[in-house]
Amino acid sequence: MRAYFGEFGGQYVAETLLPALEELEDAFNRACQDKRFNNELVSLMGDYVGRPTPMTHAKRLSEHFGLNVWLKREDLCHTGAHKINNAIGQILLARFMGKKRIIAETGAGQHGVATATACALFGLECHVYMGEEDIRRQHTNVERMRLLGAEVIPVKAGSATLKDAVSEAIRDWISNVDTTYYLLGSAVGPHPYPTMVRYFQSVIGNEAKKQILEKKGSLPDAVIACVGGGSNAIGIFSAFVDDPVELIGVEAYGKGDGMHAASISFGTPGVLHGAYSFLLQDEDGQVLPTHSIAPGLDYPGVGPEHSWLSATGRASYVLVDDKEALDAYALLNRLEGINPALESAHAIAYLATYALRNKGKTVIINLSGRGDKDLDIVLEAGI
């Protein structure tokens, strides 16, 4: 299995972790070939997660923008976001490897809830690292995790957001590597995580392609998804990479100049959390603080495969700020009766710009999660 996407990716980790990454890659390779593993995965995706998720033709939204917009409804997954696809896949892998203690990081709390859910389903011990700032702004997800039997461990270090939660999870893993499975939630981190997370999320793209061909009879002109670490985007992009379909990742432009989380648009290559990829950093290589109203996008790095898709020109990465995302959140509620996560609202918001030069084109938006968790933030912002 390749550890790099072009020059991006790799394994820049403490020596203590290298054997664990080898063991993980080996187990993942064997699991992919294992009939029982795959049967169990398919059956849980259907009977527990609720797949395939629908592809909704957003008629009023289409009229509004003069486009033909389809929504891939990951918000209808069990637990309310695409994160469960990866959590279930990796929890099966953890069981396959005989690991009983699960750790995870979470930003918006969606991955934490998904991991806590998967652990509850199999009776595994679950510890979720979450930045204090995120605990404050996504407290309903914190309560959900606790109900599911997980321990939520507050992270005070640094900016007390997703980046710091990942760092703390890595430290836990270094200290407990014999017994512990680190269930990383995005397409970031050292090899094999980016490849593995894409594998478990590729179900989104595979379904979407089949559905659009059935419903519309042709491929879309573009596929649009929000990008923080980039797991929902890579999941839907993966099925269309070899097709004549424009791939657009939407980065969080936050409050604009210097207060955003747009790693590809404004970053430079560097190493954070074990992989070489685009990174928001200063001239000395210190990682910069980030801001996005969407906690799941509030991360200074990005998955290495996205860096590669950008560097090769196969995908483009664009900007949507807090205000545009909030407006899109409200718009989708009003026009389609669908409440998107603030993360996914970034993808919706980009339609306004896309429509300027692409009237009448067919677009799939990956609606990666639902927005109940964001109600406090949205009300606070006066929407």
Partner: protein, 251 residues
Amino acid sequence: MIARSIRKSSYPVIPYITAGLPDLDTTGKILGALAAAGAPAMEVGIPFSDPTADGPVLQQASNLALNAGFTMDSFFHNLIKWCSSIPMPIIVMTYINPLIRMGMERALSRIKDSGVSGIIIPDLPRDASGVYRMCSSMGLDLIRLIAPTTGRQRAKEILSQCSGFVYAVSVMGVTGPRDELPDGLVKQVDSIKELTSIPVCVGFGVSKKAQVNGLLDVADGVIVGSYLVSNIMSSPDPVKAVTDAYMGLVG
């Protein structure tokens, strides 16, 4: 130079301190005092925003140094002075990203040209041969880490691209004092010694004189970091505090 200095030392305890804590002037004074106290070599850490291999003490140290205005320019400016005034070898410890940002080759040669003897990078890529080639062509020792989880084959691979000394990580975990070190440590050090002729130094978790004494029975040197740095952070007179703490370990 590093290996020779360790071998020659009667009490080879290598101190680690975070650069710029509380400021770079004080760092220079601390290094001078530790050299006078008999340290055979000294590790100076470049503070990093996201030190994933470090425990709470060194995380806090990094934060404080960065908040106090540490920059790479000011670091290099001081590094030259330290290296020219201190007779013992100086080793730079840094996460890889600041080097990548500067350009790996340029960063390494700036470090070498400052008079530094060796470098430790805790998050080198799995295949570190590119970095090793650059270091060895410059005459800069690349000190590698071997963990308790490292297998024999990987240990051989590491040792074939390692010079100065090899850093045996004592515990499964991040940096920071431990009350007790693992039972298997003696065996781990012995098994590394079977594979190499360069000094084997043990680090992570060491904070007590008894631990140092025990380790020096089996290893060629001991590295002490968090314990000394916590003394820097807790005292109004950091130079005296860290020197006293060091003397307490070796005296």
